[in-house]
Amino acid sequence: MSSGRETQSIKPLEVTLPTSLRSEQLVRIDSQWASSRPALATATRMRYKGLIQGFLDSAERFASREALVVDDKRLSYRELRGRAAAIARTILDRELESFPLAAILASRSVTAYAGVLGILGTGKGYVPLNPKFPVDRTRKMLVLSGSRVLVVGREALGQLHRLLPEIGRTLTVILPDLDDAADLCAAFPQHRFVSSRQMSEGAGFAFDIEVDSAAVAYLLFTSGSTGEPKGVPIHHSNVWSYIEYISNRYEVNERDRFSQEFDMTFDLSVHDMFICWERGACLFSVPEKSVMLPAKFIRDHGLTMWFSVPSVVALLSNMRLLQPRCFPSLRFSVFCGEPLAAAHAQHWQEAAPNSIVENLYGPTETTIAISHYRWDPSKSPQECLNGIVPIGWPFAGQQCRVADHERGEVSETGELCLAGSQVTDGYWNDPEKTRRQFVHFPETGETLWYRTGDLVKRGENGCLYYLGRIDHQVKIRGYRVELQEIEVVLRKTSQAEQVVAVPWPVVDGSADGVVAFVSGVSNVDDLHILDRCREALPDYMVPRKIYRLEEMPLNDNRKIDRKRLVKLLEGA
């Protein structure tokens, strides 16, 4: 399958070349770049194993070192490699025909991590599914991905009876945490089940694979404006660039202890796992109950690498859990996914005085993150705009341009467009959306640019400042949300003439949730609508409240005036 990319040209624009990096960064990064692994082109010729390569190298070099801690389970690289090998061999032994992707429905368990590695160990890309998401949404993702294999963790077994009935194609369901799958075999004869007792032996499996750098390493789904999740395929070459760059920048080594806060359906989890395993470090899976307030977890495990959305800082701060010097073990603290308030960066810096604090920015389409800003307590407060930390400069080798597309010119303020080895080439089986967002500019020839939809300002020194969106996409607690997707569900369930979803409340540039307005309907059963929303949407997209209006306020263009709706909320 392909992303169905067909590009279009838009108005001629002056090209902004990637001269935005500060000179000292260029020198340092380039020297590190040169000393690291062979470039991808060379690596491809050297039996390149793709995203799993770093883990396999570490498993050879640091076989007895701890690779993963999940609750009270501690797995060495040798043990985790063994678990992954068993899953990989089981997939390959039961493969009836070749297919490019396999899905994993698991979360924060040994099977979740071993499953990702096992799938990659077959040379296939992985499709993470989230047991916390509504089953209907998970089924859509599974079907859209075309996966013929599904690896399921213990924590998701209870969902199978609702997930599997409406899957048209035959699935091979691998169950490393279930001894006996007889009940499932009887209930779903159209599918094939492999219990833990029926799985192949991992011993002796050599991970003797080669992957094309253009193959898909993982496929993630983000919120889509039509109501259907939108697939973003990330290729091995995209993620390889990121891992090379970041593991060098943070000088990761085998003594590091990484946090793993993010759900696997959030691409920032790829950073946690594969930056960690690239250099033989240990990954600490943050239990669901500690994700919200992880202060004790950070201290108990002496973490050295922290990566989360900025909302976590606000929560810890509100709970008085961010005391000066409370996280002395941290070397790097990295935030991404939503605007980072300057006050929060400063507060965290005081709590983690031995840590470098960085703000990363990047849409899923550009592989985890593509620009960075390093917090400097002496200078950064003056460099912030509206109290928000800049998104900084693109990674070395990646390109950006800021353009006002309506006026057809490069400008100081406009839409951020990105290009480079980290940028994917289109959406999964969606030529129309691909054409809209992935474009060529006449001045840059074959270079493919991703239009982010993010409105940014470019400072005199090339530093980028995030200002907001040019469309109706918002971030809620770091998750990317198309408000239209919520509105599709609201319209269907409320039968209202007009529905509007509004991010609310918004604190320091970040939305905590969403509320809904409906009009043109007399009887609104809020609880019924919200229950239906909960069945179709992930928790963070379900409106907190529904307001009924006689009619929607309109602006001068006779469009719904969203700003006035926000004013109504402010006055409520």
Binding site: L293, K296, M319, D512, D531, V542, P543, R544
Partner: protein, 88 residues
């Protein structure tokens, strides 16, 4: 001015608050009791939990210190109330 509370009184107060302020779409969840896990059951998200802490502090007059408390204790109604009353 606040009055010293018993654990049972505080538990009742918390349950009543959660019943009025839990996440939407959970209307079919079972009865909320002293043993209910507020987070695992999806009743509160992180911001709702903070709102609950603010509410408890205002009612009990106690500052809740979660510095060294395990999440499996403070996510449960009864555990959260006990932590609160330790500082009474």
């Amino acid at each position: 001015m606040t009055v010293a509370m018993s654990e049972a009184q505080l538990v009742d107060l918390v349950i009543s608050w959660v019943q009025s302020n839990h996440r939407p779409g959970n209307s079919r969840n079972g009865k909320i009791s002293a043993d209910t896990d507020l987070i695992a059951g999806g009743l509160l998200d992180s911001f709702g939990f903070i709102d609950l802490i603010v509410f408890i502090e205002s009612q009990s007059g106690c500052k809740i210190d979660l510095t060294d408390v395990d999440p499996s204790e403070f996510c449960v109604v009864k555990g959260l109330c006990r932590i609160t009353l330790r500082n009474q």
